[in-house]
Point group: C2
Chain length 194, copies 2
């Protein structure tokens, strides 16, 4: 499929993505259908069926795109400060109903659907690539060992709030972001994430 | 429902649980039906429909029961040693195809089903209650601050390997259990889990 930036395909995608998020918030995943999304987006439902086939594939495809987005990472002068800023952004995103609705579906589908699993894995590979400069700067400052694994640092940072949301079912907030940053920075300094 | 230990109800449950796990491994969640479980367990399908209604509710109910099981926790003489033993048991369980199949379903359902969410939350409340003596012993030895939160310690311990499995999609193994124990023990000693 050829997609020109700002062209008709891009406009369709944007309209469909917005309609999908509104439907998910209004009627939930079980109630969301291709027909309803098409009507709300003002797009022919045959276009949606041809391109995505199902609501699940549509969610996964749009989520996949999110993996490629670069998010500016703060340069606070310390590893813990940088990780705290990153964790707070992630928690804020997960507390936002629209992004949370999409995330919930992808996590739920990923246990039995390969496309959803791949979208989630790619999303985190994107997050790691995006945040790798944080680790490189801390190494350059001599704060942490040179053989520190950036992927391990980012995984360790995110694990507590993702596990609270999707495994233990506990609430998340800024305190969880700050604690995750403190624990991860300490573990990295001690060489446990090498 | 009246259930006598060793009685007909208990035998039915055991047979149904075994049949369910075998079906999940053979044909996956999508292929598992009440009819197939009933045939394999040698139980009338009307009994299963009356008691559980659907495969999802059956999985959730059996998982709920697992929360109440007490698992002996090792007393190695150090917080890190005790946490390492606990984390290794958890990783071994998650690597076992039968328990993993059930866990996958409950995690997947929990994002949109209240009964599955409650089963998962109760499971971890059970794990915390079960492991609380580890934290109490470490406090008594003067290894960690008296105001350390046992629930926070157990959540911090489990977060990395659950997040690898269900969020980032990375493999898990003994090294992940050992790293989680080292990071959690260090964080607890520093008073970050109070």
């Amino acid at each position: 499929m050829v997609s020109r930036p700002g062209g008709r395909t891009a406009r369709t995608r944007t309209a469909v993505a917005a309609a999908l998020q509104e439907e998910l918030l209004e009627v939930g995943y079980a109630g969301t259908t291709i027909e309803r999304i098409a009507r709300r987006a003002g797009v022919a439902k045959t276009t949606l069926y041809r391109r995505w086939g199902s609501v699940g594939q549509l969610v996964v495809d749009l989520f996949h795109e999110a993996a490629a987005v670069e998010i500016p990472v703060a340069d606070t002068g310390s590893l813990e400060g940088d990780l705290r800023a990153l964790a707070r952004s992630a928690v804020t995103l997960l507390l936002h109903p629209r992004s949370r609705a999409v995330f919930d579906i992808v996590v739920g589908e990923a246990v039995h659907d390969e496309a959803a699993r791949a979208a989630l894995t790619d999303f985190f590979a994107g997050r790691v690539a995006n945040a790798a400069p944080i680790v490189a700067r801390a190494v350059a400052r001599g704060e942490i060992p040179a053989n520190t694994d950036a992927a391990e640092v980012i995984r360790q940072l995110g694990a507590p709030y993702y596990a609270r949301l999707y495994i233990t079912g506990d609430p998340i907030g800024e305190a969880d972001a700050d604690r995750a940053a403190a624990v991860t920075a300490m573990a990295a300094r001690a060489g446990l994430l090498a």
